[in-house]
Amino acid sequence: MLLTLSWTLPLAGAILIALLGNADGKRDGMIRWLALAVSLVVFAVTLVLWARFDPASADFQFVERVPWIPAFGIDYYIGIDGISLLLVVLTGLLTPIALLSSWESIEKKVKEFSIFILALEAAMIGVFVSLDLFLFYVFWDAMLIPMYFLIGIWGYDQRIYAAVKFMLYTMAGSVLMLIAILGLAYMHSEATGSYSFDLLKLYTLQIAPETQRWFFLAFAVAFAIKVPLFPFHTWLPDAHVQAPTAGSIILAGVLLKMGTYGLVRFAFPLFPLAAAEFAPWIAVLAVIGIVYGALVAMVQPDMKKLVAYSSVSHLGFVVLGICAMNVQGVQGAVYQMLAHGISTGGLFLMVGMLSDRRHTRLISEFGGLRSAMPRLTAAFLIITLASIGMPALNGFIGEFLTMFGAYLWDPRFVVVAGLGVILSAVYMLSMFQKVYLGELTNPKNASLPDLRPREWATVLPLCAIAIAMGVLPSIFLKPMEPSVQRMVERVQSGRPLVAEGARRPGIVAQTAVTPAAVTNAIVSKAADTAAARLGQ
């Protein structure tokens, strides 16, 4: 029941708000509070899920199953494992933050805005908890509708173009996935006599290598567009730049993760043979994306666009970790998804604050903000450092693990990906420097108000989590470890042992050095050093 509640609650909230009369915006205030309350309750539900989650088990938990369309073997079948658990929590966390971020900046059509945000949350959680491919597809497509409206109605100047582009790009990828899903169900009926969209049953399906190739491509393209993987990324800068702050936070924080989540949950384990064949190519694209995104981000005059391109770069690490398909890589990938959700969500949030105050996002319009807004500067610095992968902050663990995993797989990728780490420091720090440090040259910036209480409420949790994820990674790594382990074994066992095993021995065996142990060692070392220095 609890898991069903996590996605039906926001939906019920949306419907309730839709039924409220709101002539001339008289009830705007009440609707804002109601939406926030609903999203906080949902967040609480996701936290309860986490608290009750058994971290030692690799199985799906909180499983619920009711027949939905029995004629086709379609069930309402949901459950979460260690991989999806934290993504659900992340969704629960970012939605209230998105609502708070638009407390003042969204003035028109507050009612509809709240409806769409809550509907979006319902669909996003639905995507992460679905274990039935049909149900998954329903949520996946349903999610586009509220996002489309959020960008198209409350966005900036080019919003309509961006909204339509977002919708068509994503749909074009996902309909081919629908064909592959239908094909899978059909194959299941060929093999067993009945249709089924049950993910766990489909995992065990024996699929011919040639078919695997086509189906894998159909899935992978859908997810690659969502990630977005180079060269499918062109919708992202448009959507991000045009979306309102809340839309950007959710887009960067959660929606992009659905692409990488889909790769981990569906594309790789369903078609292990084809995945093994295509993984190096996808990794090449991921690495190109890492460097390309970083290079393009370096020359952006617009802060939002810069952060958008940095997402292309950061998600390249996630994809690289998934392609490595060993415990370290995948665990790093999932960790990086969470970390990126927190830090990029935070960056968009704070860029949005600046943009609300000045109605511009151009870096050249700012400078020396430190003297006017010291608190925002401090928060921005923490998130910036988190984003570039500073040790003891969240980004470091994710990037480190993905690169570690990739190194075990093929060190050549790591050499190039390492460039991306350096470049990310260049563009992020130079933005920080240009915006916050130096003399306050533009007089318009002199009297900007610093963080208000409402803004504190959004910024503080993100900074705290960024630090917590950097210092105590095992809290987050522990629950996902058994699930990741099983997933990797599932994919590896579906691969031809001769071809892969001969060249890269011990892909699975090397898991004796568990990521949690490695990172703990590093963190405690860093803490010791820091303590020693403080002692001097």
Partner: protein, 479 residues
């Protein structure tokens, strides 16, 4: 109820009586007297619905030519829904545009009688008679606004091309009779399956002619030319009616003739219809993108939807048996809602059916805009709507039958079609109205009808099981 022979035609009788009553009411109506003629029609349609439900599972046969089997009854019930929604949408529109209610409703009801007959006919000649009954009524309905030149032109085109198609159809019947010596579908089927090995080439000619006749009625490419003009010229409610009712009836007869009588020749007709289906989906969608008139755009969209239905016909295997029926129902409700919304927004002298007329509709008519958006999303096949389940059903049938190419064309054209449905949504929600005058307030009855169809769309999209099972079980009666 009566004798077994009469039982089968009770649904049609109910509607016929209602139609006659509307004519009578109009004839004896005092000047300026207002009569609830639409209500009469609804009573008749409800009678048809009740009698269909009572006939369910009984497979009665009337006079050897009307088969009230579950397949026919499912389509009959779909047509009842089409009829009721049409009448509800029409009521405010007739008053506004000054269309004589008696004539209008009796024509609508007669057309529905023809449609029901077509859906249940089990003899080629009766199919033809039914086709003529419905066609004549719809030709007149197209030109019901006599002072409107566009409507007259549309009716004329529709009539000329429709007459051509009837001739083709009749030729097809003649050839079939020439080869098999009968026009009863069951007899034709058993003759052909006995002769399948030593086939007479004339039967292919007969099939070809029948195919052309049906293709005209369902506006499949390349026989779709009349559709955009007729749909644009007719009043929006009539367009909604004919784009759903006529298509449903024609498809029902199409499926019955080809899946039962010509089943032995499946290997011959499947490739032909597959090509037509692909062309229909592609042309309907691609040309639809370029339209700026909403009715014209939806005309092309309904051509494309005919293509999806053809895919369902091609892939009528175990998995997708019910696909045609479910899709007919979901498409009918959805398309009627879309055209109904257009009709409600018009004023007497201005149809308000250009794309730019919808700018900022959200501000002046929030509820109507929201409901119309749902119907457009359903046409585009987005979950959680009836259109999504319908398309999904068609595509799984296609995949199961090995027609991957058709399924891929289908999904890609759906994405393209989403583009033009979204253009309307963009207009309604994201564009400013500017200085142009906002459309007038919309009648409550019309809004109620719209809300009713939206409820149906969402119900079919979220809890489709019952209707899916019904559809699958119904079509089994003609296999």
């Amino acid at each position: 109820m009566f004798s077994a022979e009469l039982d089968a035609i009770v649904p049609m009788l109910c509607v016929t009586l209602a139609a006659l009553a509307s004519m009578g009411a109009e004839a004896f109506r005092g000047k300026n007297e207002r009569l609830p003629i639409g209500g009469l029609g609804i009573v008749g349609l409800l009678g048809a619905a009740v009698s269909s439900v009572l006939l369910w599972n009984r497979s009665t046969n009337g006079f050897g030519v009307i088969a009230a089997d579950n397949f026919g009854l499912f389509v009959t019930l779909t047509l009842v829904a089409v009829g009721i929604l049409t009448i509800l949408f029409s009521a405010p529109v007739l008053e506004r545009d000054g269309i004589p209610a008696g004539e209008y409703y009796s024509l609508v009801l007669f057309a529905i009688v023809g449609m029901m007959m077509m859906a249940t006919a089990s003899d080629l000649l009766v199919v033809f008679i039914a086709l003529e009954i419905l066609s004549l009524a719809v030709y007149v309905l197209t030109a019901i606004r006599r002072d409107n030149a566009a409507g007259t032109e549309a009716a004329f085109k529709y009539f000329l091309l429709g007459a051509f198609s009837s001739a083709f159809f009749l030729y097809g019947i003649a050839f079939t009779f020439g080869v098999t010596g009968t026009t009863r579908l069951a007899a034709v089927g058993s003759y052909l399956s006995a002769q399948a090995m030593t086939s007479n080439p004339l039967i292919l000619v007969a099939m070809g002619f029948l195919l052309v006749g049906f293709a005209f009625k369902i506006s499949a490419v390349p026989f779709h030319m009349w559709t955009p003009d007729a749909y644009e010229g007719a009043p929006a409610v009539v367009t909604g009616f004919m784009s759903t009712g006529v298509k449903a009836a024609a498809f029902a007869a199409f499926a019955r003739v080809f899946l039962s009588a010509f089943e032995p020749f499946k290997a011959e007709w499947v490739p032909v219809i597959a090509v037509i289906a692909a062309l229909t989906m592609i042309l309907g969608t691609v040309v639809g993108v370029a339209q700026t008139n909403l009715k014209r755009m939806l005309a092309y969209s309904s051509i494309a939807h005919g293509g999806y239905l053809l895919v369902g016909l091609v892939a009528a295997n175990d998995a997708g048996k019910g696909a045609i029926l479910f899709y007919l129902l979901s498409y009918s409700v959805t398309n009627l809602a879309a055209f109904g919304a257009i009709a409600l927004l018009g004023v007497k002298d201005r149809a308000n059916d250009e794309l730019r007329d919808y700018a900022g509709l959200w501000n002046s008519h929030p509820a109507l805009a929201a409901l119309m958006t749902v119907s457009l999303l359903s046409l585009g096949g987005l979950p959680p709507t009836a259109g999504f389940i319908g398309k999904y059903y068609i595509f799984i049938a296609a995949v199961s039958a090995g027609h991957y190419a058709l399924a891929i064309i289908g999904v890609l054209t759906s994405v393209i079609s989403v583009f033009f449905y979204l253009r309307v949504v963009v207009m309604m929600y994201m564009a400013d109205r500017g200085t142009a005058e906002a459309p007038p307030r919309v009648a409550g009855l019309g809004m109620a009808a719209l809300a009713l169809s939206i409820v149906a769309i969402v119900y079919l999209g979220v809890l489709p099981t019952r209707v899916l099972d019904l559809a699958a079980a119904s079509i089994a009666t003609i296999f």
